[in-house]
């Protein structure tokens, strides 16, 4: 990101990299500086962050059943040693 003009377009291009924590510190600083200066982008990023938090909150809903866990452990017990590489 060598462009000195870090505008809305540039910020929005990095929307998810930024929210997912995938940017370098320097690039994240550029996005953050833009968000501090641009209320519209700030609101947009805020909305997207709320959406990601909402999806993440559905993260731990389902589990392998105890029967499946048991089935797998039983199978491992009856398996021979894996061949050496």
């Amino acid at each position: 990101m060598s462009d000195p003009v870090f505008d809305c377009r540039a910020a929005v291009d990095h929307l998810y990299d930024y929210l997912d924590g995938e940017l370098t510190t320097a690039d994240a600083d550029l996005v953050r500086a833009h968000l501090e200066a641009c209320a519209h982008c700030f609101r947009f990023f805020d909305f997207e962050a709320a959406f990601l938090r909402f999806i993440e909150a559905r993260r731990r809903g389902e589990h392998a059943s105890p029967e499946l866990r048991r089935r797998i452990l039983d199978q491992l017990l009856s398996e021979g040693d894996p061949p050496a590489p």
């Binding site: 929307l15 998810y16 990299d17 997912d20 995938e22 609101r43 947009f44 805020d46 909305f47 997207e48 709320a50 959406f51 990601l52 909402f54 999806i55 993440e56 559905r58 993260r59 809903g61 389902e62 589990h63 392998a64 059943s65 499946l68 866990r69 089935r71 797998i72 199978q75 491992l76 017990l77 009856s78 398996e79 021979g80 040693d81 894996p82 061949p83 050496a84 590489p85």
Partner: protein, 186 residues
């Protein structure tokens, strides 16, 4: 019989990811019986290949790679589920434009029940669903997802962008239908 040491090792490194493998299998296959079978096959395959596993390898990404190959080889031929969302429409669209006046903080999302969220994820075309599930439901990094799926990070980013926007649109439409939020009059 496997030696106790090998099994103990496998149980310590691989088994903690059993729920992750199951959940991803469930979202990929859309069927709990298939997900059970896929999970069992994946864990068995991983156990048999365990001697090739090196300390420092990302066990979760490795297991998910096995799972994905298993799914592609055995189950994907039988395509009973058609995607219902057009992801290609998503370029340049954001739900935010529709809600910025009424609900800029996206509070309407919180009224949507879990089941509808999972249905909306399941309605995404497979490659987008896969990216969203691995990232947003399981918390993998872009690099880990790229490793599991076997495509460049840039491709994952683009699939995540379009998948998330499509998911948002489905959930927004649902929220409008349910009266959680007013649709924008056009």
């Amino acid at each position: 019989m496997a030696t106790d040491a090998t099994r103990a090792d496998f149980e310590r490194e691989a088994l903690p990811h059993l729920d992750t493998v199951y959940r991803v299998a469930l979202r990929l296959s859309g069927d709990s019986t298939r997900a059970d079978d896929l999970t069992q096959e994946t864990m068995l395959k991983a156990f048999r290949a365990w001697p090739t596993f090196r300390e420092g390898t990302n066990a979760r990404a490795w297991l998910l790679t096995i799972l994905r190959n298993q799914f592609i080889n055995e189950y994907r031929r039988d395509r009973s589920r058609g995607p219902t969302v057009d992801v290609m429409e998503m370029e340049g669209y954001t739900v935010f434009k529709d809600v910025q006046e009424a609900d800029p903080e996206g509070r309407f999302f919180d009224q949507i029940v879990d089941e509808r969220v999972l249905e909306a994820i399941d309605a995404l075309p497979e490659e987008f669903r896969e990216a969203v599930v691995l990232s947003d439901l399981e918390g993998l990094s872009y690099a880990e997802i790229a490793e599991v799926v076997g495509v460049p990070v840039g491709t994952i980013k683009s699939r995540l962008y379009r998948g998330r926007q499509a998911l948002q649109k489905t959930l927004f439409n649902h929220a409008v239908e349910m009266g959680y939020i007013r649709g924008r009059s056009r």
